[in-house]
Amino acid sequence: MSEAIFKEYTEKLPGKLLEEVRDNLPTKVTDAKLKKILAAVEEEYLNTVVDPGESVGLVCAESIGEPGTQMTLNTFHFAGVSEMNVTTGLPRLIEILDARKTIKSPMMEVYLKEPFSQGEGIKVIAEKVKETKFNEYIKEVTIDVVESTMSIQLDEDKMAVVEMKTDRLIKILAKSLKGFSLKKIDETTLEVKSTSKEEPLKDVYRVREKIKGIYINGVRGVTQVLPVKRGDEYLIITAGTNLKAILKMEEVDTTRTVSNNLYEIGEVLGIEAVREQIIREVIKVLEAQGIGIDIRHILLVADTMTMSGHVQGISRYGIVKTKPSVLARASFETPLRHIFNASIIGEEDQLNSVIENVMLNQPVPLGTGLPGLITKVKK
């Protein structure tokens, strides 16, 4: 019976609010009481709903802008032993809202499927995720000046961890070492020799540094990995991002793994995911600073940034650029460019937004300026 009463309100009240009522209801409640409660909740809800014309955008800007002065500027921050250095505070907030393409500390949180999320082989997975250069497999390099060869002692321990075989290493190396021959002396020793006739020794010396930087395995772009335990599961935090490649790995839980690079998310997961990630990242920054801002303000910024279908930053290249009014654009930055471009195409300004009406000393179409009264005035 009570379900029927709830149903009556599904159109009138937001689902979350109804859920809350359901959760907080005493175990025994008569239908009459429930009706009374829901009626009271509805009344309260209607009293709390925003008024038409409310300038929610400006309130949002104020709510985020005002505590900006209280945030720290310290780029790097140490949060205990097991976390990495992350950009936080104001610089990170600016980064997010600007929708920067390159961010200062790109990171991923790689969630894992069972049983890996319980810590099984977590170190091996972490090694697999990390971008590895040949450098890390080398124990020692010696150059034979007489023979013009370079012999490389491989690091067995390291190879054992990721199950790397010497033959495979040679294959990978050969691809990027044109003009050199590679020979396997034994399981842990390689010999590199130049195939050119002239000055083979010089070539060997030159290749000594180059060979160290050759990409062997792992996910490109991931420079650092850190397995951590969060709650009762293990996950891997990485410095450097490559969401596309990470999501292809079979151990990875693709439903929760995220990167903090908005553009990457946009490419791999789409614009809705970007919106969600903007919200999460902003909340993360604000919480770390102990600043309370209502979620609705953050939602509004995220929605504004993503409404066009691609990410637009809060800058003269992003949202401001797409404003319909010439004067609104001109009042922000680079006024001359906007005015001249407008004159070329004969652009019309419909004076629909705030700033141009301020300029012309007219009421702004917000709040009390929104409703108009039309009446005949006696001459």
Binding site: V50, G65, T304, V320, L336, I344, D349, L351, V354, I355
Partner: protein, 864 residues
Amino acid sequence: MMSDNQHPVHSYISRLQFSFMSPKMVKDLAKAKIVTPELYDKEGYPVDGGLMDIRLGVIDPGLRCKTDGQRIKDSLGHFGYIELARPVIHIMFVRLVLDLLRCTCCSCGRILIPQGQIKGFTDEIEKIGSTLGANEQRARISEIMADLRTISKCPHCEAKQKKITIEKPTTYLEDERRISPIETRTRLERIPDEDLALFGINPSAMRPEWAVLTVLPIPPVTMRPSITLESGERSEDDLTHKLGDIVRINQRLFENINAGAPEIIIEDLWDLLQYHVTTFFDNDVSQLPPARHRSGQPLKTISGRIKSKEGRIRHNLAGKRTNFSARTVISPDPGLDINEVGVPKVMAMKLTVPERVTEWNMAYLKDFIKNGSAEYPGANYIIRPDGKRKRITDETKEALLEEIEPGFLIERHLLDGDVALFNRQPSLHRMSMMCHKVRVLPGLTLRLNPAVCTPYNADFDGDEMNLHIPQTEEARAEAEILLQVQTQIVSPRYGLSIIGCNQDAITGNYILTKYLKLPRNKAIDLLSSVGIEDFSRLPNKDVLTGHEIFSMALPKDFNFKSKPRSDKPEHIEAAVEIKNGMLLKGILDKNNLGSGKGLLLRTIHKQYGADRTVTILGHIYKLGINSLLRYGFTMYLSDTDLEPEAKEAIENLLGDAKATVQDLISKYRDGTLEQLPGRSLEETLELRILEKLNETRNDAGNAVLNQGKDQSGLMVMVNSGARGSNIQVAQMGGIVGQQALRGGRIEKGYTERTLSCFKRGDLGGAARGFIGNSFKTGLKPHEMYFMAMTGRDSMMDTALRTPKSGYLYRRLANALQDLKVEYDETTRDAAGKIVQYSYGEDKLDVSRSEGGKINVKAIIDANV
């Protein structure tokens, strides 16, 4: 007829269109042709055909404009023009002209796209323009143009196309040969209107050849007034200077051409003319030396006047100035109501409120006139129905009293109860400008209740604030209904009250509800000093507890229960319970009364509304202060003294810390230190040491705090949350602790050491910024030095942060200012595009919610 500020508005500007002035338009618009660089004749009268020609408007009092016959201020001014001897390129369109030259045929003027494809492209661009907007359109056009550049044969007339380059700033070259502006212009003239759409040019707004100027409009004199110096000398505006240069060179060029001078001389003059015209428009062109005054300071020409923060747009158009405003130092006055502002009498006699004379208030208003402008409360001006403004002086007083009749406006002095807008910069949120009721007070500062310091972010170390007096009924109504302090109690940032008790008000209520018991007569004295006069609810006892006294400030049917902050006994004791307006248990501290915290004030606000909350808050605030007044409150230096046990405990802690750190270091040196995952050995050591030292600081702090000195002034302030923190107490009495720089211990300084008083490689606590002394015992020299390092670091941080966050705020405000909730409950931007289908997903207004939510529990409790 209405007076000057009471015009009914019949019409608004509904749209603006931008376009480019054609040479014909320039000539039609012009009222005079300027032919001579001379400004004034011997008598100082503007020369006809000169730049100050009185047909262009007047700036001298006494002269009349020849065009409209008006005097200075009434004449808006008129444009003139000059005929350029040779055409010059308009600097702002250099890029556009270059693109046009490159993408059209040099002989037939058609765009370098075969006839068959033109329509396809035009349609595409039009479609992009109408669906995605001008930006996308511009992007697509430049893509198309990039492709056209490389075409070497005209698809229309088969003419060979040469490569066109630009020699900055204004010279076009075709295979090293210069294209003169004349030739440029003829080429641009050849481009047919139909092809222009492909370049994003609207032929009705601009023909490309207009970008090569043949006539130059001369702005009106009123736009570039000269100023007369003290010496009687005239100093001309920068624009006049620049125009003088242009006219002078132009005349010389004319003369030389007419005299048949050699081509080189003409070319030189032509280039010079180009330079002057260019710098007239923009004096910041990167390839040109800016035109300067004789003093060497660059001229501020047209673009300089428009752009930047001090330019026309941001300074004059988007920023407004106002009359009827005042500014001075602020000081606190807890005797005022929260929504009042104390205005000095001198200000009240300058700031006025216009009141319309009617039959009914005539006598009332005449009293003000009788007092005149020098006596309070008087009036300064009367405004006749025809808009004429007359000052009230002792001489005119009598005549004005006679003259007055319904319809007149009297600008009377500010009175108690008038509405005023009160503001403190930086105005970061809407609570930075609130409406207060005026209270005219003696003294010379603006006074405010200290409870509203939080929303303004004000203190009294010399802060100044601004006061504005609304002048129309609409403005007053809006201020009173929407901006008054009580309407702003709940912050729209997080839905909790931003106005609350602070400082002594918190300490006072804390002491009142924790320690005080008063005899009945004293309790009544205290309550009535606060303004509470209803004692019917006061229990009939000889000695009253603080709880009972405090309860008198609450409404009699108020129920409230706060959640304890934790399970600690002192927190459970402090949890507040109010039933039927009586405080049953708990201690009133910052968590209940403070701003931005606790739900007590928020609940009162919800139940009893804004006006009642202001009264209750006012009572509670004064109750706190007056309790302190009676109880006496101070902080002694001895509050930071240590008991012998605490002293010993701290010494032990320091010794232990030193030993542990030494142990860690020797382990590190031996290589027996266990490495933390994902860390190098050095990092591990640093982290472990830091951990130990912070632990020491905390333990030492606890030793100081747990001395049983809870009744000392210092601890009362800290525990009530009024001022100071546990850490600060620990730093004063115990030890200051580790100084952190960039998230770690201090490492900077000399080679392998921070200061020369330490051994090289010393990794111990003291050598890396650990301060083992307290502020009271005093710091050792090296400790002071470390403190100064972190002090400077945090100062730099603040100094760099302010402009950064200011810019972020400006961008946010600019990007979001047009968003509003529509009548259909969607959130939309200025173009009407939907940003959110329902605001914040549930349409809740944060400033009406309780912490961003609807308190479902309370509703259920109330209805079960």
